[in-house]
């Protein structure tokens, strides 16, 4: 499977956390703990730290980019994001993390719906700088 590397180059291998419900990081993710705190979200209470987060898109607040940067600073950031559609708010958070701390959170885009849905069953994933994705 091939995706388009948006930011940050290669990622993983790391365990996959899949959701079909878009998550806003602001109000949805606590950078101090790495846990999902959105009470409306099915991943509530789970940790995203060091994991490949697979979801269709980001959602909601434009402060999500700041939360992503905070999580990089705090060491609680995900290992990478896989989206169907690039969310510019996640991209900017990751780009600024690269600029300020030399550590981007890699983002890869998998537009094809069938390929994306197949990721629901993956337990572990990684991708290289060309966007070739390996799943287990």
């Amino acid at each position: 499977m091939k995706g388009r590397v948006a930011v940050g180059g290669a990622a993983g291998p790391a365990s996959v956390i899949f959701t079909s419900d878009a998550l806003s990081l602001w109000g949805g993710f606590d950078p101090a703990t790495g846990l999902v705190i959105d009470t409306h979200h099915p991943l509530r209470g789970l940790s995203l730290s060091g994991r490949i987060v697979v979801m269709p898109a980001g959602r909601g607040s434009s402060t999500s980019s700041a939360i992503l940067l905070e999580s990089v600073r705090a060491g609680t950031a995900p290992a990478g994001f896989m989206f169907r559609r690039l969310d510019p708010i996640f991209a900017i958070g990751s780009l600024v993390a690269e600029k300020l701390y030399g550590r981007a959170v890699p983002i890869v885009i998998v537009e094809d719906e069938g390929a994306f849905s197949a990721l629901a069953a993956a337990s572990e994933a990684s991708w290289d700088t060309d966007g070739f994705i390996s799943v287990r």
């Binding site: 434009s62 980019s65 700041a66 940067l69 905070e70 990089v72 600073r73 705090a74 900017i92 780009l95």
Partner: protein, 404 residues
């Protein structure tokens, strides 16, 4: 523009903007007429690092730039018991942005305080409700600018022509038709429609048909803020109400919508249920003003509270900008509110600043945005209701039987 021609801050901004342009396949840059910066919140020390970095580079904004609501009420945070470990860095971030030439607007409703771009103008706005309002109601063009990109665009004075800056990306895709069974006189109609729509929109541009033609700007503000909380709605065409939507066909740029969803009374009841986390009547505080209260909303509130008195254990907080508080003060709208027992807090909001004591367990609000975020950001219960229901709860000390 060559690298470094206008100094290291512009170079830094352009480097990031060029990366964003590449990522979004933008064919060119377009100049912007204003920016609204949401990245002035103290969410942690990374934001302080970012602002300090820009300040060290000598950054200055190139276009009129407003600041969003901030993390503290500047004149009041010490007296409110906000810890210095939170208040001090929050002030430092604000001072950094003011030093770059941003205006001390401190509001999540910049469109209400004279910061209104004209139809078709490009802007770079952050803050989800402001983005949705600028695109939908003003017909200005902004993409969803995340924190950091907003100030970088302000410094560069231009943005990649991508996303909602492009005409074809503004086409209505998903048509919501208000059901015949919906009571359009329900005072909570607008936030409920917005919330229900946001849940179903995904990444599409929604069109809503069937809203009352006499909807006021405050109604549209409530609808869009709720939609931008439950979904990633950055532009919604409200038929007969917003400038790109005189009719469904125009909103969809002459094509048919990709799909049609009926917003039935049942869907709105579902939205109302999703916005409340308890129903036993308990309420400790009422919070109004997300987005920041307008003078029209102060008028409505003043007429509701006049001659009434809040229950002794309650708290009623209205969040707004200094600009709007002064307008309300001039019109004599704050006296009845103070006599009732309510308070006005400027610059910030309950989601950003630790304004409500731990003993406040349940907050009632008429804002779909407050209601959406209170449980996760404040770990408190929430009850959603109309403005009149909120005032009744503040007076009686408990939530009265709600219409639904």
């Amino acid at each position: 523009m060559r690298r470094g021609e206008r100094g290291p801050a512009v170079q830094f901004a352009l480097e990031v903007l060029v990366r964003m342009a590449e990522l979004t396949d933008a064919p060119r840059f377009v100049p912007i007429v204003s920016a609204h910066v949401d990245g002035c919140l103290y969410e942690g020390d990374a934001v302080v690092d970012f602002v300090d970095h820009l300040t060290a580079l000598g950054a200055q904004v190139a276009v009129p730039t407003t600041l969003n609501a901030i993390s503290v009420e500047l004149s009041g945070w010490r007296a409110q018991g906000v810890p210095a470990a939170f208040g001090d860095p929050a002030e430092r971030i604000v001072a950094g942005y003011l030093g770059m030439g941003a205006r001390p607007s401190f509001s999540c409703a910049p469109y209400a305080i004279g910061h209104t771009p004209a139809f078709g103008q490009h802007v770079a706005w952050g803050e989800s409700n402001a983005i949705a309002y600028a695109n939908s109601v003003l017909g200005a063009r902004t993409d969803r600018y995340g924190d950091f990109l907003d100030i970088l665009a302000a410094i560069a004075g231009r943005v990649p022509e991508q996303g909602l800056h492009r005409t074809e990306r503004r086409r209505g895709e998903l048509l919501f038709v208000l059901g015949d069974d919906v009571d359009v006189s329900d005072p909570a109609l607008y936030p409920l429609v917005g919330y229900a729509m946001g849940l179903l929109t995904g990444g599409a541009v929604p069109v809503v048909e069937g809203l009352p033609p006499d909807a006021r700007p405050d109604d549209l503000k409530a609808l869009l803020a709720a939609a931008a909380s439950s979904g990633a709605v950055a532009l919604a065409h409200l038929v007969g109400l917003t400038p790109e939507a005189p009719d469904v066909s125009t909103a969809c740029q002459g094509r048919r919508p990709d799909s049609v969803i009926s917003l039935t009374a049942a869907r709105l009841r579902e939205a109302r249920r999703a916005l409340s986390t308890r129903s036993d009547g308990r309420v400790d505080a009422v919070a109004l003003g997300s987005p920041h209260f307008s003078v029209g909303e102060f008028r409505e509130l003043a007429s509701l509270v006049r001659g009434r008195r809040m229950a002794p254990h309650m708290r009623l907080v209205v969040t707004t900008s200094q600009f709007m508080r002064d307008r309300a003060q001039e019109e004599g709208l704050l006296e009845p509110l103070r006599a009732f027992g309510g308070e006005v807090i400027t610059d910030t909001c309950i989601l950003l600043s630790p304004l409500l004591a731990n003993s406040v367990r349940t907050v009632m609000t008429n804002s779909g945005k407050y209601a959406h975020y209170i449980p996760s950001l404040l770990q408190k219960d929430v009850v959603f209701g109309s403005l009149a229901e909120c005032v009744a709860a503040a007076e009686s000390g408990s939530v009265l039987e709600q219409t639904s």
